[in-house]
């Protein structure tokens, strides 16, 4: 069940250093939102603040609020562990658990939470998740094989299946295709277009053409002279890539940067 994600004046620190400032942005439910911008603009930092993964780094903290649906992820008494259970994340380099089989990787989320799903119910959950990740046909005959035997693109789809098995409301992807070849990249992009029917998808990408192909809405972030990242412009992808309002956006998209 997809929910909208609304960030209100979110700032993030690494120890004393401010990384992003007052980012306000609503990522619509059941749509794909892309975050683009040059290196160091804070887009990954912002993404990790959504599922409270930022604060895992020693000395890191967040200011502001982020609402998933009606719930404030940073509200008093919100358990970060529970937040992360409802928000799935896929990382830049595919990271399936190397000691586990394909089946066990997909099942690892619910098992880590002790949800008590077993036997046939778990079989069905694994199958459904792998189908949603467009990987089922390729692995259905070797579910017990080690996950590390898959190709890079397959491993990444496995990581997506693993996240989907938790039945999240939101899926975050941090440059999911940057370690993959073009065909695997296209497969992932096509997959995201299908996933958005059921989930809210937020993707960080340094490949702006990918954002143009995949996202409904695009946000452009930029770090100023003070090296603090801010959101410069946010809107429908078609508009951003054909007639952006802010000249900095246009400079970045047309490659006139630096």
């Amino acid at each position: 069940m997809a929910e909208a994600v609304s960030a209100q004046e979110v700032s993030a620190w690494y120890g004393k250093k401010l990384a992003i400032r007052d980012v306000t942005l609503t990522m619509e439910a059941a749509k794909v939102t892309a975050l683009i911008g040059p290196s160091g603009c804070g887009k990954s930092t912002f993404l990790r603040s959504i599922n409270r993964l930022h604060e895992v780094i020693p000395g890191a903290r967040i200011g502001g609020d982020i609402f998933v649906g009606k719930e404030n992820v940073y509200g008093k008494g919100m358990d970060p562990v529970k937040v992360r259970a409802k928000i799935g994340m896929v990382f830049q380099r595919p990271n399936p658990f190397p000691t586990m089989s394909i089946y066990n990787n997909v099942a690892s989320g619910p098992r880590l939470h002790g949800k008590g799903i077993r036997g046939k119910a778990m079989d069905e959950l694994v199958e459904k998740s792998l189908k949603q990740a467009a990987l089922w046909d390729e692995v259905k005959d070797r579910l017990k094989a080690p996950a590390t035997g898959l190709s890079g693109g397959q491993q990444q789809r496995l990581c997506i299946a693993r996240a989907l098995a938790m039945k999240p409301e939101v899926i975050l992807l941090d440059e999911p295709a940057s370690a993959l070849d073009p065909i695997a990249t296209f497969k992932i992009e096509e997959l995201l277009l299908q996933l958005k029917q059921e989930y809210t998808v937020v993707i960080v990408t340094h490949n702006m053409q990918q954002a143009a192909r995949v996202a409904d809405n695009t946000a452009f972030m930029l770090a100023g002279q003070d090296l603090v990242g801010e959101m410069v412009e946010y809107g429908a992808t078609q508009r951003i890539f054909s007639a952006p309002e802010d000249p900095r956006t246009q400079d970045y998209i047309t490659g006139r940067f630096g």
Binding site: L53, N95, P98, L112, H113, A163, M166
Partner: protein, 294 residues
């Protein structure tokens, strides 16, 4: 142009050959003592091997010689090493987890330093320390437990360092993957990180066991070896026979039959240690094949 090698190329080739041969000679020199040792032990000790040898209790007096065997020392060694593992492995692993997952700071640095110091502790000091601390020094209250404690001191730093290194070598993405799924830190460590680091940890444990199985000095101050102990299964009290001690006693005896017994025992001990080392290698290879991270 490429075919024109020039004079410099010839010098380089020569230097390369000289270096290669120097390395081979150095390795040969290093291996010779090992080969000599293996040869000596196999030749002299292997002759003693027999089923009788392995199942008869150790002789109770000098020149009991070949009437006896080494069954009691073997059992004793097993008990002592077993106790050591029970104490050392959890201590080592938990310390290693702490070091790998802590956020740095003075205390962590202190723990690391202490671990390194203990790792370099001469085994005789370990024996004296534990012996004095547990009041067995006066040799009135020897116990296998005390011996195990001393051996634990020698074993656990290896396990700690290996656990720390193995956990630290895991790419951070794996930890992130587990956290991203909403696992708590504890579950992440025990259900994801430890299994991934398992090969390194198990190898270190095996090597640790191999080491303590053969340690003699700590046994001297905790078990005492001026007599000929009979079998004693009580670890808390009383002397217990053990292989290293048995070797020491029998080889010190002037009777040749006793010396022969000692060499047989040395062969068995050597064999155990070699076996454990090879086991560790095999495990490292096999597990590394299975758990290769992308």
């Amino acid at each position: 142009m490429i075919a024109d090698a020039g004079p410099r190329f010839g010098v380089r080739k020569l230097t390369d050959r000289v270096g290669t041969w120097a390395s081979i000679v150095a390795v040969a020199i290093a291996i010779v003592p090992l080969i000599g040792l293996i040869g000596f032990v196999i030749q002299r000790g292997g002759a003693e091997l027999s089923w009788h040898f392995l199942t008869t209790p150790a002789p109770a007096s000098p020149d009991g010689g070949l009437a006896g065997g080494i069954s009691t020392p073997i059992v004793g060694t097993l008990i002592i090493v077993g106790l050591t593992c029970v104490m050392g492995i959890p201590l080592g692993i938990l310390s290693g987890i702490y070091l790998a997952t802590s956020r740095g700071g003075r205390f962590t640095q202190g723990v690391r330093f202490a671990c390194d110091v203990i790792a370099g502790l001469p085994s005789i000091l370990a024996g004296i320390l534990v012996g004095a601390f547990l009041l067995t020094y006066d040799r009135n209250q020897p116990s296998a437990l005390a011996a195990s404690v001393a051996l634990t001191l020698l074993m656990f730093p290896t396990v700690t360092r290996a656990t720390d290194a193995a956990l630290s070598a895991i790419p951070p993405e794996l930890r992130e993957a587990a956290l991203g799924l909403g696992a708590t830190d504890a579950k992440t460590v025990f259900k994801v990180l430890i299994p991934t680091a398992a090969s390194g940890i198990v190898t270190a444990i095996i090597l640790g066991i191999a080491r303590v199985a053969g340690e003699t000095a700590p046994l001297l101050f905790t078990l005492g070896f001026l007599g000929y102990p009979t079998m004693n299964l009580n670890p808390f009290h009383g002397v217990m026979p053990a292989l290293p001690g048995e070797i020491y006693v029998e080889i010190s005896s002037p009777f040749s039959k006793d010396k022969a017994l000692a060499l047989g025992a040395a062969f068995v001990l050597f064999f155990i240690v070699m076996f454990l080392n090879l086991l560790a290698r095999a495990m490292t290879y096999r597990l590394s094949q299975r758990t290769r991270v992308v």
